[in-house]
């Protein structure tokens, strides 16, 4: 294993840093820095900036129209990206729908959908979770019954992030009720403007509305919108789960948050508070360990080894650290967090103390990290079975 970056790699890093910092609007950076709510336009206009350089679909191979970066360049891109207060780009198109389409889709599907994703024309969402089927996808109930050239879809999805903003949804549906769940699920792409779709936002404990319920009432979906074989949806979903975990450490973001908290502590004159310094140092070392676990796993995949289920460790530690940081920010600002202002959170009103103002909403919001994307309990089950081989 070698950890040394080539001169080319370093030049690439510098290029990313320069482009991003030159093009990140100060106002947007401030919203990210202070955990204010982003609008659909905040996301899409920033993603246009990325797409202009073909860095929105940054992980895509050249064959799919992506930049075809090496694994090392991918890593360096994420590191530079996380160091700046850029919005976390919407992942559902570029990291999920896209890879499934260019891996399992037919040529017509590739031509039809990939450009819209890559160029940030279409906003995507993910239709997995249902009431009664969260971490356990085998319990899905939404059905798609074949009728000639269409599927008739009925059922309900829930916790669908940004369904209220989306043009398209990739969706797991049951196409066969007879066989065991793993073989009866198919993977459909659904136009969110189709008749029969109702989207209802769910307000979360931090006051945000990123989650939605989506109801399907006799929604007709053309058969050509099915990816791959009927009944093979489970395989594609599993493919994505491992894909997803690898990008879920959030280490670069946590590194930025850590330095923000350190800056806040200095601004508050608490830089010498022994307990605070100790907690910060402790988290910093835990984060360093996470970063180096990630680097070594990356180095192994560069060498051709698929990260596979081991990537679950990054999801577990990354989310635990991010949550600990969000709690630390609350503890640092203490009673200064007590002023709640929807107007501030919506960036409609300034504040003398913006770091404190968003701290509690962020703490509450970050609780989702250990729940979604395969709960940390499910990640531990995967590791126990597949890495530790415990029966």
């Amino acid at each position: 294993m070698t950890m040394i970056f080539s001169e080319e790699d370093k030049a690439f890093s510098a290029e990313v840093r320069t482009y991003l910092s030159d093009n990140l609007p100060a106002e947007l950076a401030r919203k990210v820095r202070y955990n204010q709510r982003l609008t659909r336009d905040d996301y899409t206009s920033w993603q246009d900036v990325l797409a202009a350089r073909n860095w929105y679909a940054v992980g895509w191979p050249a064959s799919a129209g992506g930049p075809g970066l090496t694994q090392t360049q991918r890593y360096l891109f994420e590191r530079e990206y996380g160091a700046l207060a850029c919005p976390h780009p919407c992942q559902f198109g570029i990291a999920m729908a896209g890879p499934v389409i260019f891996t399992f889709g037919n040529d017509e599907q590739k031509a039809r959908f990939l450009p819209g994703i890559r160029e940030n024309k279409d906003f995507w969402c993910q239709g997995y979770s249902e009431p009664g089927a969260g971490s356990d996808l085998a319990a899905l109930k939404t059905t798609a019954v074949r009728e000639g050239d269409h599927y008739r879809v009925n059922g309900q999805k829930i916790w669908t992030t940004w369904a209220n903003w989306a043009d398209w949804m990739f969706c797991l549906v049951k196409t066969d009720l007879e066989v065991k769940p793993q073989r009866g699920i198919s993977f459909l792409l659904i136009d969110m403007r189709s008749p029969g779709i109702t989207v209802r936002p769910i307000k979360t404990i931090d006051g945000d509305e990123e989650f939605n319920e989506v109801f399907f009432n006799d929604v007709l979906v053309p058969v050509e919108n099915r990816i791959g074989e009927e009944g093979q949806g489970w395989t594609y979903a599993k493919f994505l789960l491992e894909f997803e975990r690898f990008s879920m450490s959030g280490a670069a973001r946590s590194r930025r948050v850590l330095s923000e908290i350190r800056a806040d502590a200095e601004a508050l004159g608490k830089a010498d508070d022994a307990r605070l310094v100790e907690r910060l140092t402790r988290l910093e070392i835990e984060l360093l360990a996470l970063e180096h676990m990630e680097l070594h796993l990356l180095a192994r995949s560069v060498g051709g080894e698929n990260p596979g289920p081991e990537a679950s460790k990054l999801k577990i530690r990354g989310t635990e650290i991010a949550q600990a940081l969000s709690r630390l920010r609350v503890d640092l600002h203490a009673e200064d967090c007590l002023v709640h202002s929807e107007a501030f959170l919506d960036a409609l009103e300034p504040s003398d103390n913006p770091s404190a103002m968003g701290a509690i909403a962020t703490y509450l919001n970050q609780r989702k990290l250990t729940i979604w994307g395969g709960s940390n309990e499910v990640q531990r089950m995967i590791l126990a079975k597949q890495i530790l081989e415990l029966g």
């Binding site: 971490s135 404990i205 989650f211 009673e335 007590l338 709640h340 202002s341």
Partner: protein, 351 residues
């Protein structure tokens, strides 16, 4: 403790339970709530019989506050009856004010925070005093007729206790929501004139009274936390028995069972310390137990709150679901009354 008192407390607990059950929407209007509390006699309850109270003391307050936590009541019993009322009950000069508080005709907010030095300064004037400065996060000040404030006397080390009407000239209130939906305000005093008769302390000794009231405040806040985390525990346990994943109730998975057991133990620790603090006959011991109960209620509350969300999963992240509201309640309490470490030296000085 007389059997009589035990019986009274039992009756009180029953009344509280019924009262909370009837307002289980958790959105009680605070104004109406205050009248109801007055009608129930709870505004008389904390103070000794000598000053006209019912003499149920910390045990009675603890029962009422557990109900507040359980029902997420927004009625400002803690700041008005325990904090402000607690100070008034200890000041012989304040007997009239206390009487009005007990009747419910005067609502007095507490413009002082636990463990904080006074942020106001009082300068002597011909006709009394001039108060200047600013108090942050005065709970429910929008519902109060007056505030009880601590001020440093001139440049001295002495602290005075002042009653000031919220509509007095020079008093300004900037109201804001707390993250759990309760209200508080930053109260500014721009050289507010206060009559000599509205200084309520006996020229000093306020710190001693304050320390006692602070201990009672922390116990009341611990009881509020206890009520809230009891609901969190019960709801999470019920949910774990009902909710199925991978074909079986999630409560049948051993790792979850052990975490639920640990929630139960953490809850029991708070319950035990709150009960002991509320019943302790010795003032010194009661004070130390009250501080310990508060500290433990935060430790336990953090664990129980975070576990309640995690075990419920995404459903607990919704604004509609009760779990988030209880978690916010405990978190706001922590920030208002101070994190555990801030009270460590207080605990050591009392034990």
């Amino acid at each position: 403790m007389s059997t009589n008192l035990d019986e009274e407390l039992q009756m009180l607990a029953d009344t509280v339970a019924r009262y909370v059950a009837n307002r289980s929407d958790g959105k009680a209007n605070s104004e109406d709530g205050w009248k109801e509390l007055a009608e129930l006699g709870w505004l008389y309850l904390p103070y000794p019989e000598e000053v006209g109270g019912l003499g149920l003391g910390t045990a009675g307050v603890s029962a009422v506050m557990q109900g507040h936590g359980r029902g997420l009541l927004a009625t400002p019993y803690l700041p008005f009856a325990v904090m402000a009322g607690g100070m008034l009950a200890r000041c012989p000069r304040a007997s009239q004010a206390l009487a009005a508080v007990m009747e419910g005709t005067q609502r007095v907010a507490a413009a002082f925070a636990v463990g904080a030095a006074p942020t106001l300064v009082a300068q002597a004037a011909d006709d009394g005093w001039r108060l200047a400065g600013r108090c942050n996060h005065v709970l429910a000040v929008d519902e109060a007729d007056a505030v009880l404030a601590l001020a440093r006397i001139g440049a001295s080390d002495e602290t005075g206790l002042f009653m000031v009407r919220t509509d007095a000239p020079g008093v300004t209130v900037e109201l804001h929501f707390l993250p759990d939906g309760r209200r508080a305000g930053c109260v500014g005093f721009d050289n507010v004139a206060v009559a000599a008769s509205d200084r309520l302390d006996e020229n000093g000794g306020v710190e001693t009274l304050l320390r006692e009231v602070e201990a009672e405040t922390l116990l009341a806040a611990a009881a509020d936390n206890l009520g809230a985390m009891q609901v969190l525990y019960e709801q999470t346990l019920d949910y774990a028995k009902l909710r199925k994943q991978f074909g079986r109730p999630i409560g049948s998975f051993q790792s979850l069972q052990f975490r639920l057991v640990d929630m139960w133990i953490k809850l029991d620790e708070v319950r035990s310390l709150v009960a002991s603090a509320a019943a302790a006959p010795d003032r010194q011991e009661a004070g130390a137990l009250a501080v310990a109960a508060w500290i433990q209620s935060i430790w336990s509350g953090r664990l129980i709150g975070e576990e309640a969300i995690q075990i419920h999963g995404a459903i607990a992240m919704t604004d509609e679901h009760a779990v988030g509201r209880y978690v916010k309640r405990i978190l706001v309490n922590e920030l208002v009354f101070g994190a555990p470490e801030r009270h460590f030296s207080r605990y050591r000085s009392m034990r």
